[in-house]
Amino acid sequence: MGKKYVISRRSFLKKSAITVASIGFSGSIFNFFFSGLTPVTAAEINNVKKFLNACPRNCYDTCSIVSTVADGVLKKVEGSTISSYTRGKLCAKGYSYTRSVYSPDRIKYPMKQKVRGSGNWERISWDEAYTEIATKILQIKKEYGSTLPICLNKYSGNFDIMHYGIEGMLSSIGNTTRATGTPCWPAGIDAQTFDFGTTYCNDPEDIVNAKYLIIWGANPAWCSVHSMYFVKEAQKRGCKLIVIDPILTQTASQADVYIQIKPSTDGALALGMARYILDNELYDGEWLAKNSKGAEEFFSYLQKNITVEWAAQKTGIPRAVIESIAREYATTKPANIWIGYGMQRHTNGGQNVRAIDALAAITGNIGKSGGGAQYAQLQTWGFAYYAMMQKKPENSGGKSDRLININNFGAEVLNANEPPIKMMWIACRNPISQDPETAVVNKAFEAMDLVVTADMYMNPTVEMSDIVLPVTTTFETPGVNVSYWHYWLSLNEQAIKPMYECKNDVTIAMELSAKLNELEQGSCTFPVSGDLEEWVGKEFNEGIYKQFGMQDWRELKKGPIKAKTGLIAWQDGKFKTPSGKYELWSDEAKKFGHFPLPVYTEELQPNDEFPLRCISAHWKLGINSQFQNLDWMAAINNEPCLEMHPIVANRFGIKDKDQVKMYNDIGYIVLPAKVTETVSPDIVVVYEAWYKGKKFNVNYTVKAIPADMGKKATGSPGLAFHDNFVAIKKAQ
């Protein structure tokens, strides 16, 4: 035996190798070869570098970030100190980005699901993914004569300007169906568009100059934490802070006066205040005469239809309080109103915003430092949109894109015909979690031939997709970001290599274009190659350069830059309305079916069957369905709850922490009660969020009821998220 070993020692090892190698696997110790590892070839320079990044989330703050990268690994993120808005700090969500990038749960590879919703996934190569997608696109185009059966649903998961290349990719294959509009703020945008000509606010850093500040239906302590510095600073300088909200929020807890209003009656309060201001001649007649259209008609409406007593009954706010804040607001200059997005998520939301705008106008608080009717700004968004503006291929069929309402997505997909919708491309969105009428949205997904979703994490939408494509985080790809609130412009540098096989959405578009053209020459116009940083450069134009005082976009590599002009909205008095004036009377509003004046539209009322209004406000540790799935956030709070006033709890025999079923005619959720006096007795509150691994989604109960406005500026009306009427009972 010994002899055998001596003779065959090496030869047998090789023989084994030869035998097994013939069927594809050697396993011989003398045949080692490197595959994932490689010999070190160059001396390593273990350097630490700083990169500039920008938070691309759908958030007021759009923080300028400084990232520290050591040996190619993202080590730390912190707020930029150059930006006087970010001021060197991030919110809890921002600080979790290292968690987000290096979570083992990231989607790492393109994958294909055997049966939609089965959870049976196979890993596929990018080429296989592109081939399957491109083949389906071409097959649809051949069968239907156009690409209209292909529907894009993309919105705010990543607001980097280059991410509009996703829309560009769809344009580059032909006319397609587009989910149009926004779930967030459209009624308010329309309201401001009717009043001012567009939505445009003062630089939020200017809040420090306010002497009187009403935060009306916003909760910056949770949703715009950097703005709170300016609010606090204003208070230090003597500004009185009033917070109006149905919920005693963390922001409200820091106010001088908190006013708990009945939901959806904000317009009644504003009009009641306006009536008081009119009766007591506290309005700014000079400003109105010079800058407005329709003041007489508005005052006439107030005199005929509005009383402070009526406003008190409507809103639940004592008359004396209304009179007091009306007097203070009208006589303390400058006075600023921050109009939140919550109040416009009602069937009368747009009119409510118009009524509040009117308060700012009649008191002459428009166009002034420290003043304003602050809703949002789109002034710094005038990019070239190079990635988005793609030509459609010749003879691609269909006359134009088909627009469907993003806020009634499920039903509109199912109802689309001639041609029907057969394929969805989902990017920067999680419609199954975020859209109303979840069951209908699910049915729409079920009806598809192919659903492709590009995302970073598994979520309910990915679960209902056929192919998922892994996308990069903001740190793994270049981009450029601005805010819809502040006036800073931030370059987003690629700080680290993409993890695993993740790709930027524009890279995906380029590679899909290459595959489409390989299969059918001329079928896609999207460029098939290009350096992503060069793509970023192409997003800039002369207008942006002028606004930010730049010669070249690379100047942003030194740090974020603030706009040089336009920081006080409407300071020049040149409104963008048809009349060029602030329009209390808006013929444009009339064209869109609204009363031309800011009038009160009756709020929806609960009924006997569903007696409570459920408000699904934003949660502090997440933005829509982002962030809360991260373990860091889950570690702080991983349990949704139903907040209710003790009066409501007593009425329904519910105690704190009881499991409660909240339901209406379309769905239900079961969750523990949190009995608290911070919510008004007219409502229950469930914070909208997606908790990983939990069968919780408040939108099971939310109907696709449109808000009154939104069509003009965003293409579709808003969604009355907060007109959700429900019943509750203790769960068995």
């Binding site: 020692r9 047998f12 110790i29 590892l37 040996d71 990038v101 996934w121 890993r123 993890m499």
Partner: protein
């Protein structure tokens, strides 16, 4: 230079070969190319024929079980494998050392860097550095294969001191980067897994690691 007795040397080589073989198999398994996995498991049978007199009976027994697993591999094995190790959902048994050892469960943290530093010490690095965590099990298994191959190469050349150096490095790597998490990883597979193939692989891997641990501690 002292020449080793041939029988002892041969047995050592055969022993190393067996261990290398199993590590290689699991490396292929964790790479996730199912055609390669199938081929590798088919090859076990041939390997066994040629190595029926391996000095390590436990290796032979494990190889027999690996060979038998070929027959239970099916489509569901792939789906479960992906749920355990690949995604797109939350991984039920992440193939990353740091997922088990980092207090926040993150990859690319100090635990991953410790593996990177070990690689650096032995003159290797990850080809897709900073895209694939250095502590992905595939890379750790490749590192072990490299060390065992180096040890065998030195042994084959008849150098007494050199092979020990690589075997010492292997034992160090096993103690520092395999033992602290891989049992838990296998237990996660056995806890979450229902597919006989995936469970069988985990059971065999765990048993093999226990044998390695015992041998390393001798």
């Amino acid at each position: 230079m002292r020449i080793m007795p041939q029988n002892h040397k041969s047995n050592m080589l055969k022993d190393m070969q067996g261990r290398y073989y199993i590590y290689s198999l699991f490396k292929i398994y964790y790479q996730g190319d199912w055609e390669e996995i199938r081929k590798a498991l088919q090859a076990v049978e041939y390997y066994q024929d040629d190595n029926s007199q391996s000095p390590e009976p436990s290796i032979n027994s494990l190889l027999k079980r690996l060979s038998d697993l070929n027959s239970v591999m099916d489509e569901n094995s792939i789906y479960e494998y992906n749920k355990l190790f690949v995604g797109p959902g939350k991984l039920l048994a992440p193939p990353f050392e740091s997922s088990y050892r980092n207090k926040l469960g993150l990859v690319m943290q100090e635990e991953t860097m410790a593996v990177r530093n070990f690689y650096k010490e032995i003159g290797v690095e990850v080809k897709e550095k900073n895209s694939i965590p250095d502590d992905h099990l595939v890379l750790e298994l490749e590192c072990i294969c490299y060390l065992l191959a180096q040890a065998a190469e030195q042994l084959e050349k008849g150098l007494i001191a050199s092979p020990n150096e690589y075997l010492v490095l292997y034992k160090m790597f096993f103690a520092q980067h395999i033992k602290p998490w891989l049992y838990e990883h296998c237990n996660d597979i056995l806890h979450h897994g229902v597919n006989p193939f995936c469970r069988g692989m985990a059971e065999i891997f765990k048993q093999f690691l226990q044998g390695e641990e015992r041998q390393n501690e001798k």
